[in-house]
Point group: C2
Chain length 347, copies 2
Amino acid sequence: MRATVIHAPNDIRVEEVPDPVIQRSDDAVVRVLRACICGSDLWAYRGESAREAGQRIGHEFLGVVEETGSEVSGLRAGDLVVAPFVWSDGACEYCAEGLTTSCPAGGFWGTPGSDGGQGEYVRVPFADATLVALPSDATSDDRLLSALLTLSDVLGTGHHAAVGAGVRPGATVAVVGDGAVGLCGVVAAKRLGAERIIALGRHTDRTDLARTFGATDVVAERGEAAVEAVRELTGGQGAHSVIEAVGTEQSMRTAVGIARDGGAIGYVGVPHGSGTGLDLGVMFGRNIALRGGIAPVRTYIPELLPDVLSGAIDPSPVFDLAVGLDGVPDGYRAMDERKALKVLVRP
Amino acid sequence: MRATVIHAPNDIRVEEVPDPVIQRSDDAVVRVLRACICGSDLWAYRGESAREAGQRIGHEFLGVVEETGSEVSGLRAGDLVVAPFVWSDGACEYCAEGLTTSCPAGGFWGTPGSDGGQGEYVRVPFADATLVALPSDATSDDRLLSALLTLSDVLGTGHHAAVGAGVRPGATVAVVGDGAVGLCGVVAAKRLGAERIIALGRHTDRTDLARTFGATDVVAERGEAAVEAVRELTGGQGAHSVIEAVGTEQSMRTAVGIARDGGAIGYVGVPHGSGTGLDLGVMFGRNIALRGGIAPVRTYIPELLPDVLSGAIDPSPVFDLAVGLDGVPDGYRAMDERKALKVLVRP
């Protein structure tokens, strides 16, 4: 089959690789219908996250089950399924608690020895536990397929941030980051009943999308000026809930600065850089909580799926560029150069 | 009256100062029956927290109302009352939410212009909102008075840490810090139904007390060895809830290291030192939350008071040295030299 391979920073290629086969009785092989490129893939692309030469890449996909191992009972060939960005066994204590990302048997697509999402096929471990079946008639609805694809990462991650930030009906929510996760944070905050959603971002095409998704205010300033702007919008208090969807020291500093006393920061931006940006003295004096981390999106899919299927929420507009498999390297370049927000891949 | 005054680091004196008088119609003047010295007072004593020369000191006290302003309606002369370590107006949005420590009109005993708890009398702003009435017959019960005094800070602070750490029935809780707050964290964790309580501390007299309060295990190691010991006690997983009651970079690093995936750190140790001790990469990957800060103990007093009165919980053994007002400077020395855990003051 053909799949995306990362050889070195800035060296992404689409190549012929071995076809995946059932290796364990609980595996499935999925033919990928839709995949995409994630902001976090760019850390590998830019060399900021180490990868072995020749690793596969891509951790978001949905597709059709091609083959199942003998012990797979809940899925059969032909089923339309979406995969969360981490596989998990569904049998351990963490899986039982919903923290599928801490499953000791779990893993990430694209780690050595596994397939990545940006390819024609993926071998899925623990298929019954990992995959979630979707209505098969969704395959004929291109927009819906794109919306369902966000369940594999960005929508669930935005939801995790909103839950971590304690978004409640009536809350004022601020969202730091206008990438796909931040925008899905807006979607999730609105879905959870936020009354006011302040989107922080400098790119008007993205903040316009944030408004479409439910943002009531936009703050284009950065750093201290952003903090002042949010405080001015909130009667000096700041936001009850802050979604941090960037992961830099600067973005976390902003998140702390715009949080209301007693509020919470839900952080899902993968931390990178040396400093945390957390002023613990400020957080202590104002009782600001910090919750979040890698999102156990598998756990959230059953909750979010009905609203995606009904159209109550529609994150599909986060995809602003679509490519075939051969176009994946161009897709990375486009996202790296911020010419695309999020790239859809149709293998 | 006579009261404790801090002139400079290591220079604590008991001096004649002006008698407090009613300044505002919502003031009360309280005659102090019991006060105490807090671990956080030592930061001022050691010069690690700045104080103006001549500031009063002490923020924990209970006593008898001597006089009330014309608008005080819920208290009268002769009432036995306990004061939380921060006064608050009871009228603002934060007070309504229970975050009394963020009350814009609130303040700390001992700040310039206010009385400290380690003296004969204290003028109490917003007396109706700040003070909580106690049964007057408690004055004849020395042990009970000591237990009630912990409501002014350390018990409520330990409770805040336990709440921040998400202590639930059946949880495994680890407590970093064997000072009075950490020990009250043990009391609070047990009260909230923790099944297993691991106390980290090197001083056997203190960890013995922790066992009395409900600790099921004691870890005397520090740093990496402590992390390993807690992991060994918890099947490699760590504790669901970690109470951080020290406030140093080292103690926070330990707290992160011993937290279970998906768990929470409730931190109430006043942060001091340059680093936070927070490894955000670890916290992100394991979804460890951080909640806490300065405890709104006023809010917790009504919840905790019945259990103190009934004897269901009895934190009074945290006081292991008692002095009169003249003995306060010796009390600071004893705590500074770790010869006393917590010093009771009977003015």
